[in-house]
Structures are given as structure tokens and as C-alpha cells.
């Protein structure tokens, strides 16, 4: 046994004996020892030097475990590890505000707790749905039950917060501001019927800059990319244009287009590329009519603007997309001049290289 191990055993035993008020915790020992010492002192006074030092228990003051943080973030991880002791059982992980946020008001923190509560409830519903699917859609009765569950969950997701004066998308956006909410939506999307999935997708594109800003702490939007790209493939041209226009249009009172923020975020840029790629696939199907429709011109405008914005942005700020569709460069070639295409190639080309390698 090494000395370190021996010291450790002794330390463990000593720490157990530490006490704030020994006269209360260890009355008999303290009393006995005081009497013993008094007797020895008297004996010494009387001149009897033959007394011996009786063994005294000296507890070194060992610092008890320092105040620990009940939520530990490991560098570079996506989540948190909950550390609990008997004094502080596990705290709800997301309920701990991160250090970067400013002081929340009481209303804001209660709002936050309300959102977390909603998400927990919805997650239970989601788990039921997933279990239902695992058993296999055997009978029509089961699939009916399943679709009613999905419908209920969708309604819960869209539901209002405590304050009913808020805007229509707000309940959904609040859920998406939390890491667990994003996981919920990502897992729910495959179950939703087309229209509902599309409405969620459009809500996300409408508020993409807001979501990107809110995601800075969690960095969890990536998990939405896969289910959303599946959903994108079912979009009609009209719906696609709706989504893209929201990104490109200049909102009132703001000097910056949403697309600028979107291009700097990995999830944003991936989503944008996926939308453009799908549009490019739809265009030949849509342009069966000879005369150019208003949709078509909108599409052209969107593409040109996007190309221009990408070319404007310094390569360093351009985020690396999760997937790079092959038909994007040809798309831009059709719509913009050569110089711009070269600029785009320079920016997107090096990105495409990284993904392929």
C-alpha cells in the first residue's frame, strides 16, 4: 500500500469525524477527555512526573468538498453532464441559465420554465408515437390512433404561451429556442403529414435569423437539418418561393437582409442550399408554359440576390454547409454573369472541396 493510499484512508476516516460543534456531536468523548486532562494536570501539579501523554485524537481540518457546479459543460460537447450529490439532487439541465445570458427578470424566467415544462410534456407524447410505430402499423385502428396522437402533438407544439397576445408562431419558436425542443421537432418531423411539416419548415425559414441567434449557446440546429431536407423535397414551387422570399426580403426598419445572418451560420447556409437545389430541380417541371410567370421572375430575383450576397461575403465568414448539392453552381451559371460566377466558384468551390475530401 502506498503512502498516498494510507493517507487517503486516514483522511476519509477523519473527514467523517469533523464537526462544527463537537460538544454536541461527540459529548461523551469530549467530557471524558476533559476530565482526563484535568486529572493529569492535577497530578503534574502534585509532582508526579510519571504520567504519560494519553493519546489524543487530533482531527486535522480537512476542507470538505468545495461548492461544485451541478451542471458541468465539457469543452466541445453538445450537451451537459449533470453532477448530483445527496444535498443537491440533479437539477433540470436546461433550467440552469448559462453564464452568458444577462440577468433575467422574474417574468422571463417563469416564461422559460413554462416552455421547458411544455417541452417535457410534448416529449412524452413523442415517445408514445415512436413506440407506436415500433410495434408496426398492423391494424387500421392503430394507425388512426397514431395519426390522432401526431395531430395532438402538433397542436401542442403550435400552442400559445401563457400570454395569449403573442404572435402565431411564438409557441413553436419558443420550443425551438431550447436544445431539447429542437430534438423534439427533429424527431417529430418524419411523422407529420406533408402540409403540417411544410408549415413548420416555412415557420423556420421565416424566423431563421432569430433561431440562429438563439442557437449560439446550444449549437443544436444541426439535428434539424436531416428531417428538414427530407421535407424540402416535398415542397411545391410556390411554397419554396415563400420560404426563400422571407430570407431575401429586407424587413422594415432593418438595414440587413436576413440572408446575411443565415449565410454565416452552418445550419442556415445548409438549409438555404437545400432549398435552392430543390428549386433548381423543380424549375424545368414548372416552366412548361412558354411565357414567364410571376413565380418564375420571383425565382430569378431570389437566385440573383442570393448569388450576389454570397459573392459579397468574405470567404472567412461564409459558414461551411452540412451538405453541398451538386446542382448549385450550374444554377448560378444560368442566372448571373461570368464574373460573379467566378467569385462564387472561389467561395463555394473551396467549400465543396473540403466536403468531398
Amino acid at each position: 500500500m502506498t503512502q498516498k493510499e494510507k493517507d487517503w484512508v486516514v483522511k476519509v476516516q477523519m473527514v467523517q469525524l469533523q464537526s462544527e460543534n463537537p460538544r454536541l456531536d461527540d459529548y461523551y468523548y469530549q467530557e471524558y477527555y476533559q476530565k482526563l486532562e484535568k486529572k493529569q494536570a492535577d497530578e503534574e501539579l502534585l509532582g508526579r512526573r510519571s504520567r504519560f501523554e494519553s493519546l489524543k485524537l487530533v482531527t486535522p481540518y480537512i476542507q470538505k468538498a468545495e461548492v461544485y457546479e451541478s451542471v458541468v459543460r465539457i469543452e466541445g460537447s453538445l450537451g451537459q453532464v449533470a453532477v448530483s450529490t445527496c444535498f443537491t439532487p440533479r437539477r433540470a439541465i436546461d433550467a440552469v441559465p448559462h453564464g452568458t445570458q444577462d440577468q433575467e427578470t422574474a417574468a422571463a424566467s417563469s416564461q422559460r420554465l413554462w416552455v421547458l415544462y411544455r417541452i417535457e410534456k410534448m416529449f412524452l407524447q413523442l415517445l408514445e408515437i415512436e413506440d407506436g410505430q415500433q410495434d408496426g402499423p398492423a391494424q387500421p385502428h392503430d394507425s388512426e390512433q397514431q395519426s390522432s396522437r401526431v395531430e395532438k402533438l402538433f397542436q401542442a407544439l403550435k400552442a400559445q404561451g401563457q400570454n395569449n397576445l403573442e404572435a402565431a408562431d411564438d409557441g413553436f419558436l419558443q420550443a425551438l429556442s431550447v436544445g431539447k425542443g429542437k430534438a423534439l421537432v427533429a424527431r417529430l418531423l418524419p411523422f407529420l403529414p406533408r402540409e403540417q411539416a411544410v408549415s413548420l419548415l416555412l415557420a423556420i425559414t421565416r424566423h431563421l435569423p432569430f433561431l440562429v441567434k438563439r442557437d449560439v449557446a446550444d449549437q443544436a440546429l444541426q439535428m434539424l437539418f436531416q428531417p428538414l431536407s427530407k421535407c424540402i423535397r416535398h415542397l411545391t414551387f410556390r411554397e419554396l418561393l415563400q420560404g426563400l422570399q422571407g430570407l431575401v426580403r429586407l424587413p422594415p426598419g432593418c438595414s440587413e437582409r436576413p440572408i446575411t445572418v443565415v449565410l454565416q451560420n452552418q445550419f442556415g447556409i445548409s438549409l438555404l442550399y437545400a432549398l435552392l437545389s430543390h428549386g433548381e430541380q423543380l424549375v424545368p417541371l414548372h416552366s412548361s408554359v412558354k411565357e414567364p410567370s410571376s413565380d418564375h421572375s420571383t425565382w430569378t430575383d431570389v437566385v440573383v440576390l442570393t448569388a450576389w450576397e454570397i459573392a459579397q461575403m468574405p470567404t472567412a465568414s461564409l459558414a461551411e454547409p452540412l451538405a453541398f448539392p451538386g446542382n448549385l453552381l450550374p444554377l448560378f451559371c444560368h442566372h448571373v454573369d461570368k464574373r460573379l460566377v467566378q467569385k462564387l466558384e472561389a467561395r463555394m468551390g473551396c467549400v465543396a472541396m473540403d466536403i468531398r475530401s
Binding site: M1, V9, V10, Q13, M14, L57, V58
Partner: protein
Amino acid sequence: MNYMPGTASLIEDIDKKHLVLLRDGRTLIGFLRSIDQFANLVLHQTVERIHVGKKYGDIPRGIFVVRGENVVLLGEIDLEKESDTPLQQVSIEEILEEQRAEQQAKLEAEKLKVQALKDRGLSIPRADTLDEY
């Protein structure tokens, strides 16, 4: 020497030969190598000693890790006085045979006792069959 509480006092006994009595009745003799706060023990070059009457036999067992709660008592063996014993050491086969014979004799005696009590109309219930309460 600072007074050490609880199992920490075993630290002084490390690397010395000890005799350990376990709750199941076994006797182990070995060098105490390691302890912890529960008095779990690590014994080295352990030998299980079986005593029957005036005879004993040693079965070499190697390394033992004993859970603290199973120890009845343990004590240091004085190496000088170790061989100074009236007991006679025999081989393993012999001591196991002796032990088996002893167990047998005990069982027989027990059977006779129970029979005798039954004849007189008394019955002592065995502890393991007592399940009324």
C-alpha cells in the same frame, strides 16, 4: 503516534502476518497488504487453516480479498511464537477426512437428540424452518 480512528488503525498492521476469522467459520492466515475504510482486506500468501481437535491442516489459497463485513476478528501473528504450539500439523487429505468425520459425528448426535426429545413429546423447531412470524 497520532491516534487513528476506525479502520485507519489497521494501517499499522500492513505487511504483517495476520490471522483472520470469518463469519462463515473459516480461519485465514496471510500477510495483510491493503485495507480501506470498510476494513476490506487484501491478504497475500493466504492459507486456510482447518482445526479438528488437536490437529490442523493448511490449504494454500494465494491472494484473498475479503469484504469487511465478513470479518469477525483479526489479529497479528507473532512470528516467533507461531511454531510454539501444542497442535499437530497433518496433511490436507487427513485433515479434510477428520473434518468430515467430525461433521458426521455432530449430525448423528443432533439426530439422537431430536429423537430423544420427540420421544418425550418435545420438539425444538429448527431456526431455518421457523416462519410463522
